[in-house]
């Protein structure tokens, strides 16, 4: 990994660390949310940007982590770290099994089948309403969010504690993502995206690599969901709906698919835009729609994709 790549990504993390000393409480809260959801987008990008598989059903994995963590804490009496691990295991299992099935389809069929699975998962959440509490959602109580680490009590209700945990989480996810896309696996995934048949001809087990990308991507989503539930003490069915499958696609497209920083930038920008828009209209989804259409029509490479094409060829 070259020095300037490490430097650039390190600088982003340092800037986010310093932000907590200047930002208002509201900005800190928003940034925390952006960072958690950016992990979701980072994972989405592994599958969509690098492997070239457009999933319309990632909310299913996000919801897996979300509900595993929330139910783990509220129903199964787990402490926060246990619930997080539990959610990770559930995420890996669900994405592995789903991947085995949906990867048999390709192209448009893959998109629709992921959408369908995700919708079935959403309906399942509603169907078991007495456990998941449907729309209303599960709320984690404040005393369930305090846990000891090396003798110190960590309280997730505290704004700055939350911020720094989310930041550490994002940093980990980002460098893991960098490591993956610059590894052999990452290169094979790009080869599959560019020409699946040729990659298979070269002797790579295309199915296995696609499954690896799918599980990685789904697990990132589940972990993001788990952090969302634990940090914001809430798990509701809206977070499992189709909208939440479309969001990471939008964020990735906006920031630039197949760039590591793209999804993070895209998430932040879209949050700013929606926040700005909510000042004068309640129809924030309108902006989501307009941005999607404009991106497809005029800006298919996204922000960082375009920058890489024009100026910074080394951007991962």
């Amino acid at each position: 990994m070259t020095a300037r790549i490490l430097l650039l990504h390190g600088a982003v993390i340092v800037a986010l660390f310093l932000a907590q000393y200047v930002a208002s409480d509201y900005a800190v809260l928003t940034l925390t949310r952006i960072m958690v959801l950016a992990v979701y987008a980072l994972g989405y990008n592994i599958l969509f940007g690098y492997a070239g598989l457009l999933s319309l059903g990632h909310a299913m994995f996000f919801a897996t982590g979300l509900y595993a963590a929330a139910l783990g804490v509220t129903r199964l009496g787990m402490a926060v770290p246990e619930a997080f691990l539990f959610a990770a295991v559930c995420g890996v299992i669900v994405s592995f099994v789903t991947g085995l099935i949906v990867l048999r389809a390709s192209g448009v069929a893959f998109m629709i089948v992921t959408l369908m699975f995700s919708q079935a998962a959403f309906l399942t959440v509603l169907y078991f309403g007495d456990i998941t509490r449907g729309d209303e959602g599960i709320v984690i109580k404040d005393d369930q969010r305090v846990f000891p680490v090396f003798g110190h009590a960590v309280n997730l209700a505290d704004l700055l504690v939350r911020y720094n945990i989310a930041l550490a989480f994002l940093a980990l996810a980002m460098f893991l993502c960098l490591a993956v896309v610059r590894s052999r696996i990452g290169h094979v995934l790009v080869a599959i995206r560019e020409n699946e048949n040729r990659t298979a001809m070269l002797g790579y087990d295309v199915k296995r690599y696609k499954l690896i990308a799918f599980v990685l991507s789904g697990s990132f989503a589940a972990l993001a969901g788990a952090s969302y539930a634990l940090l914001f003490a809430y798990a509701g069915s809206t977070l499992a709906s189709i909208q939440y499958s479309i969001h990471p696609l939008l964020w990735t497209l906006l920031g630039g698919a197949a760039t590591v920083l793209g999804p993070v930038l895209g998430t932040a920008l879209m949050f700013l835009l929606v926040d700005f828009a909510s000042g004068f209209t309640s129809a924030s989804l309108l902006f989501v729609g307009v941005v999607l259409i404009l991106l497809v029509l005029f800006f298919p490479k996204g922000i960082l994709g375009t920058i890489r094409q024009r100026w910074l060829r080394w951007l991962p």
Binding site: R104, A109, M111, A120, L123, T124, L285, G289, I293, L297
Partner: protein, 293 residues
């Protein structure tokens, strides 16, 4: 009510559901069949048709029947016009790329949905049926309008089949579907065919919405269900095969009606959704489709 009357009611409701499904999936099947693109905004075209039916019924004097007839003309024209613009400004510019089309029409779905929310508001709107005849059976009464919807669906399906199979227009569409390049070489204006098919698909779903809205209610979020159900029907039936879609609509509609009646509508949706996913995975060409070359 005993078991058999209950079952009869379930079958009647299932038949209505099947007709509704076949009708709303028809446009999607046509567009996918000829153009090989998936229009995610299909459900919003349906919603717009229903909203227009409500608006027309409210503005046209002379009772529900006059409003119904007026809506039957105005809704498909308006929705067709929107589809025409969409095809020109959106699909044609991205050259009908399947992935880009899905993303762009998802965007369009949100835009239409939110504009409908802003213009029409968030409350559900009831539209009264053009006539209120009730068929009295020994055990329960059944709405005559629902049976009218079934008859109308059959009629529209036959009409579309006739156009596709027996007219020159249909021939041109089938040729374009079969091989776009050769069709161009033989002087068929493929772009105009695409445009016409996309508009026709939207107009069909608008007609479906006008017919169906007296049974349901118009609401700005109502588009998602018909969209997903249309996906299910179109995929199970074999992408692009209209005959397959109709058969699938009958199977899914009946199953949906019966499971909804005896268990729960949500369970019916979950089962239908998983069924489609499994069909797609193990028989990607659909139950009645032919594998693409």
């Amino acid at each position: 009510m005993g078991f058999f009357p209950h079952l009869l009611l379930a079958i009647l409701e299932g038949t209505v559901a099947a007709a509704v499904l076949a009708l709303s999936a028809l446009g999607l099947a046509l567009v996918f069949g000829v153009m090989r693109v998936v229009n995610v905004a299909h459900g919003e075209f349906f919603m717009l048709g229903a909203m227009l039916a409500w608006w027309v019924a409210k503005s046209v004097p002379g009772g529900p029947a006059a409003g119904f007839l007026a809506a039957l003309i105005i809704a498909p024209l308006a929705v067709g016009a929107l589809a025409f613009v969409t095809e020109r400004l959106l699909l044609r510019r991205i050259n009908y790329d399947p992935e880009a089309t899905i993303v762009a029409t998802i965007g369009l779905m949100f835009v239409i949905q939110q504009l409908a929310l802003t213009v029409f508001g968030a409350d559900a709107k009831a539209v009264s049926a053009p006539f209120t005849y009730r068929i009295a059976l020994p055990w329960f009464g059944f709405s005559g309008y629902k049976l009218f919807v079934v008859v109308a669906s059959v009629f529209i399906l036959l009409a579309v089949w006739w156009v596709l199979a027996r007219t020159k227009w249909g021939l041109v569409m089938r040729v374009t579907q079969f091989d776009r390049e050769t069709a161009t070489a033989f002087g068929i204006p493929v772009n105009r065919v695409y445009s016409a098919v996309f508009v026709a698909g939207a107009a069909l779903v608008a007609v479906a919405a006008v017919l169906i809205v007296p049974i349901q209610q118009a609401h700005y979020l109502m588009g998602l269900d018909p969209l997903l159900m249309s996906f299910i029907v179109v995929i199970i039936g074999g992408l692009g095969s209209i005959k397959g879609s109709v058969i699938a609509a009958v199977i899914i509609g009946m199953a949906d009606g019966i499971i909804s009646m005896f268990f729960s509508p949500t369970l019916a949706s979950i089962i239908a959704t998983l069924a489609v996913a499994l069909v797609l995975v193990f028989r990607p060409q659909g139950l009645f489709g032919v594998a693409t070359r």
